[in-house]
């Protein structure tokens, strides 16, 4: 089946908006269920990890430059560098390495 790109965009926008606005309008109290709170707490870390790896290995021209970008990013983030710096240095790693590969 052929999918309409604007319908995709509409779904993305609609679901994103509902996620943000429903808690603001409906839930005025803190969520008290411990398991639900824990689940919501862990979701971002798991989903970002799954999206990053192994996709980063296939994003660049070579497997090795992707791996190097991952390692550089992890080391910099571990050393408390900000979001912007980590992103820029990951890119630079790939750029420099691919001059030699």
């Amino acid at each position: 089946m052929e999918h309409n790109i604007y319908l995709y965009i509409l779904i993305m926008a609609g679901v994103s908006y509902l996620i943000r606005v429903l808690p603001l309008t409906l839930i005025r109290k803190d969520i008290s269920n411990r398991t639900i709170r824990s689940f919501l707490y862990y979701v971002p870390y798991v989903t970002l990890s799954v999206m990053t790896f192994p996709a980063i290995l296939e994003a660049t021209g070579s497997f090795y430059s992707g791996l190097a970008a991952l390692l550089v990013g992890i080391v910099l983030a571990w050393c408390k560098r900000g979001l912007f710096q980590v992103a820029v240095f990951s890119c630079l790693t790939v750029l420099i390495l691919e001059l030699f590969l």
Binding site: I9, I11, M12, R20, S38, V50
Partner: protein, 238 residues
Amino acid sequence: MKKENIICYKKGIRHGIPIALGYLAVSFTLGIAAQNAGMTAFQATLTSLLVNASAGQYAGFTVIAAQGSYLEMAVMILIANARYLLMSCSLSQKLSGDFPFFHRLLVGFDVTDEIFGVSMAYPGRLNPFYTYGVMTAAAPGWALGTCLGVLCGSLLPANIVSALSVGLYGMFIAIIIPPARKSRIIAGLVVVSMLASFLFAKIPVFGFLSSGMRIIVLTVVISGAAAILFPIPDGEQA
């Protein structure tokens, strides 16, 4: 408009400018991802204006690239943006009660990691006009960067595009690693998630799962298991 609101709005714009600059760089790589998924500059920019979510949009582009079902798209966005659900819960406590209800509908439009961050740091109860100011500066940066990413992504030499395409992953890493450093549980989760994701991608048995479905299934299973095995202590702010 009340004078106090105007002051808050202007302050918001000032705080939003550095956010806009960061967005410009990150959304540029998002634009490249959009182009790889076969989207035009208009479509990608429209998405950025309406969705305002890095991981969410990236996940959405994955579904578009794979021509996944509409249901898969909805579930994917729900999972990738689930953290905004939590942020909006916190924000609902922070918003001043002196403003009419429709302000909650507007503030909800652009809850992102960064805008949530500065809004929560606002002293006392939040004046929504402050958040509007931040949005006024930040949202165009996000859209413009995406647009430039699609347009210039195709003009740039292959090695530059190759380098820029890891920018978004760099940003994801910058979000997950600092908490992993503080908490062994999160560190373990990051490792387990990456390993599982790698296995699911490489073992042919799981080949029937699209990349979008893989992310959803792994997120629900691993986060669910972690919530049961390691519930967060009461009172800890998520």
